[in-house]
Amino acid sequence: MTVLIFLALMILGVPVFAVLVLSSMVYIGGSGHAALFDNLLVQLSGGLGNFSLLAIPLFIIAGELMNECGITTRLIALSRVLVGSVRGGLAYVNILANAMMAAIIGSAIAQTAVMTRIMVPEMERAGYPKADAAAMTCAGGLLGPIIPPSMPLIIFAVLAQVPVADMLISGLVPGLIMAASFLVLAGVIGFRRNYPRSEAYARAEALKVVVRALPALLVPLAIVATIVGGFGSPTEAAASAALVAILIGAFVYRELDLRRLPAVLERAGRNTAMVLAIVAASAVFGWVIIYGRMPARLAELLTGLTDNKYVFLLIIMLALLVLGTLIDGIAALIITVPILLPIATGVYGLDPVHLGIVVTLTLVVGLLTPPVGAALYVASGISGVRPIPLFRAVLPYIAVSVALLLVLCFLPVLSTVLIR
């Protein structure tokens, strides 16, 4: 009954947070333990009662501020100087700028929206096929939730009770490998489709762009260095980045209009609520799932199938790839982690950090696939490329991501090398 209500509400298009809370209510009602209703609101508010989650609003504020301060455009200009003058140069610029933005934003959807608005029209003007431009932009958006900071990795860390900093750091190597793979792929596609060559900057102009971009570059570098170097918590890194963005925007670039700050904060607040409402609702859902002994039942089923941890991981990846195409990535993460984690660590002896990277990356790939590939639809909506041609153009990037997933699955050291 609960599953039917869950599916019916999802298909009806009811917001994910409401689906999770209502399905939990239906389950409690059917279980005969009405006393659980008295604790439901505590679970709902209590789902947000974790200090580590504070990194989410602060990184969203930092990302919004950096966009408002002209930092994004300077990072793209810097990428043009670095890689823009070869054949298909703007394709490399796209991926490289996405990797830099990933060190600020942490959300694939937000990053895809920002980068599609900037890169696709510019690439189209330069003679690139529009579908290819939109495809590589939304593929580049996948770097957002992998390269630190990352919203899904913060949420996984909170759910799995591993240090948030460890979880974020473990995304760095897979994120850089993914960025490098996308660069190679863009090069191959560019060579085969004869992408145009961009004009090189004159030396003096290039130097000017680099100097102008240095303060902007400082911000993502400072965020990653603070987290990776252990100089501060992700929350502190985010708050400091927001402060630095305000200072650079107001005093260095002089693009930040302080009267726009309330609007920036409101936008950040709404984006924060989109994520945290699902986190709160999922806390109720996770509580009900555990009450219903679902992890134990699934563990019995899976251990009956295999006792090999890699086969277990492959089964999980396949299930999550399908799930990721159907429901929102963060919701899927919060629904599945309380079920999978005890089995993965308790029965199969997997490292929770390794599991976190594999699970998150698998769900992130779902952002590019219909029917619910949110990043695909955001890029489609903004660029004007229809979803199906866009999906066709993005398929090579999905194939590379799945190949990388398999590598990460069998080589846990790639996820854990920086924290061991």
Binding site: I11, L12, V14, M25, L41, L54, A277
Partner: protein, 190 residues
């Protein structure tokens, strides 16, 4: 500010608009408070004397901001959801689906308010707010007696803070049902 709707809006819509304006200001203030308090605490920690209550206060502010924003997202229809079916059907059918979704949100708001009424025992609180212990013993509801670790207030105040926004979310959902075109006229982005 020009009128948002060319026709005379329904009274519920007018209330919803007023609440939305209030929520915008509140959300801006909450996000600013989260940023400022975090930065102040970082500065004080570097100076060797951090605010011991900051972590709990920040969590309370974040929780409240999430529910304020959640209510606003109901008004603007921006909550993430699976729109596969709505994208496939005719615009008329999509409108019906949207109305069904708003109806579900209205029902959820009502259910959450009923749960809040039961859990927080508001009539009991109003008559016993000076000393809630006898009432707690009488009813077996000890919600108001659990203290926060550092803020020095009952945890129930923090759990209670989002409740008005369940009601506001319900009013927004009702406004969308009564005046579906009005939400589209609201500023989607600040």
């Amino acid at each position: 500010m020009p009128p948002l709707s060319p026709t005379r809006p329904h009274p519920v819509t007018r209330v919803s608009r007023g609440l939305f304006a209030l929520e915008r200001r509140l959300l801006q203030a909450l996000m600013a408070a989260i940023l400022i308090l975090t930065l102040v605490n970082i500065g004080l920690t570097i100076g060797g004397r951090s605010l011991y209550w900051a972590a709990e206060a920040l969590i309370a502010l974040m929780t409240l901001a999430a529910f304020v924003g959640q209510s606003m997202l109901i008004r603007t229809g921006q909550h993430p959801g699976v729109t596969l079916l709505a994208d496939m059907v005719s615009p008329r059918a999509a409108r019906w689906l949207r109305m069904a979704s708003d109806l579900v949100l209205l029902g959820l708001s009502a259910l959450l308010l009923v749960l809040a009424w039961r859990m927080f025992d508001l009539p009991g609180l109003l008559t016993n707010w000076r000393d809630p212990l006898p009432r707690a013993i009488e009813t077996g509801n000890f919600t108001w007696l659990e203290p926060t670790n550092t803020l020095g207030i009952a945890k129930a105040w923090i759990w209670l803070a989002p409740v008005p926004f369940f009601a506001f979310g319900g009013i927004h959902a009702l406004a969308r049902l009564l005046d579906p075109q009005d939400a589209a006229l609201l500023p989607q982005e600040a």
